[in-house]
Point group: C2
């Protein structure tokens, strides 16, 4: 792609768009992935393309719940891998948890392609310096991140067909799932199984947003960066009685304020 | 595609999405077309996926200006053809004006494919009953709609490269252009040429929306249906002193109201 100058006010947004276009032309994404990304772009535009105070609070709460979880897992779809796969690996390395590739429109070749992309990034990230505040062996932690999803051995109750498949080592046996860009039906099914579901979704009105335990109304790569900082810098913060409806209302109000400016 | 039941609250939106996915897989649309459609979906969602009072007034004004024009033209891109090509032909048949396929990312094969799709629809529509209120020979009127764009012979001042190309029989020689889903640069260039530019755009904050003479903040196929009714039923209405900024503010307010409900 043509290099976008650092000064361009929408540089990050345009780079993210290009990642989706490239991922799509490499066959990693479902037909509707670009449309979903466009919807996200519009909502991000309405948030001023920045992390709001409300989103920051939801990320802080999510970090605390992930740290507190017995068996956390990060569930990723194609768009999440393409937009924020490296961020997902950093979170998983810090949490010591697996990542599961879990696709609504599951095909073996897409699952395989996305796992292979994540494995490539693990190699790259294991050579990087540890993030500030990380205690331990960074290379070992990154190498230790399991990338699950190609051999589903568990079925999510309440769902039919390929979208119900997952692994017992990952989503199936987890108590807390960080799941960006999730479909509403699946979010609801995970909640019904008694799991804590931490969603990243730019649309505060979506069914996933309304169903989730905690909804982070933010762009996924920004949200992962914020969660990482809270995991590393804010270890004393404990999960609260989280009022997700209130948080979503605040996000809606921020969009309304942006529109009326 | 799987048939979506009539009772589904988002049936129209899902059908439109499928048209875009199909058009894309047939090679009729640019890479970014699906992303643009997703952005539109998000804004339409925020309008409750229905034509607002403000959009209706803007469509009424546009109908009057098209009826009043000396040389109106309808400029269509790939998404407009796929989503609302039949509506464009009906409008052109009533107005006795040409349609010009005019692409931002122009390639000869996409122009050809879109023209051929419009020609197929002309054949189909010429066999249909005339819309209520139409006076004249419907078949002759539909047959008489010129589909321009494959032999550009005019350059829009102020633009560079393929995106500057158009025809003197269509956009070049027109005084009034109905142009849905237009790029901001091109909208601005058409305005600079002294033309009346009537835009259909779901994003009231886009540069096209802000540059246009009249902006209809509505989904394109709904807007075409509304304009058609005003063309046929409201012949005494004359163009007004249109305050487009005021109209856009009202659209923003309607989104804000929807969010705060």
């Amino acid at each position: 792609m043509a290099r976008i100058p650092d000064s361009h006010p929408r540089k990050n947004s345009l780079e993210s768009r290009q990642k989706i276009v490239d991922g799509s032309s490499r066959g990693l994404l479902a037909d509707s992935a670009m449309i979903a990304h466009g919807r996200g772009e519009a909502f991000d535009y309405l948030l001023g393309e920045k992390t709001t105070k409300t989103a920051r609070e939801a990320s802080r709460e999510s970090a605390a719940r992930l740290r507190n979880a017995r068996r956390p897992v990060i569930s990723v779809n194609g768009n999440t891998v393409v937009l924020a796969g490296e961020g997902a690996i950093r979170l998983a390395a810090v949490l010591g948890c697996p990542i599961e590739v879990n696709l609504y429109y599951r095909t073996p070749s897409r699952v395989k392609g996305l796992i292979s992309l994540l494995e490539d990034w693990k190699l790259k990230l294991s050579e990087e310096d540890a993030p500030d505040g990380f205690i331990g062996d960074w290379k070992d932690s990154v190498d230790g991140v399991s990338i699950l999803g190609d051999s589903p051995n568990f079925k999510i109750d309440g769902l039919e067909g390929p979208r119900s498949k997952c692994t017992i080592e990952g989503i199936g046996g987890s108590d807390t799932v960080l799941v960006p860009l999730e479909d509403g039906d699946r979010c609801e099914a995970l909640i019904s199984l008694g799991k804590e579901v931490l969603v990243v979704d730019l649309n505060p009105l979506s069914r996933s947003s309304r169903m989730a335990t905690v909804t982070i109304v933010d762009e996924v790569s920004r949200a992962f960066d914020v969660i990482l900082r809270y995991l590393l810098d804010d270890c004393d913060y404990r999960p609260t009685e989280w009022d997700n409806g209130k948080s979503l209302k605040e996000s809606l109000k921020q969009i309304g304020d942006y529109l009326s400016e």
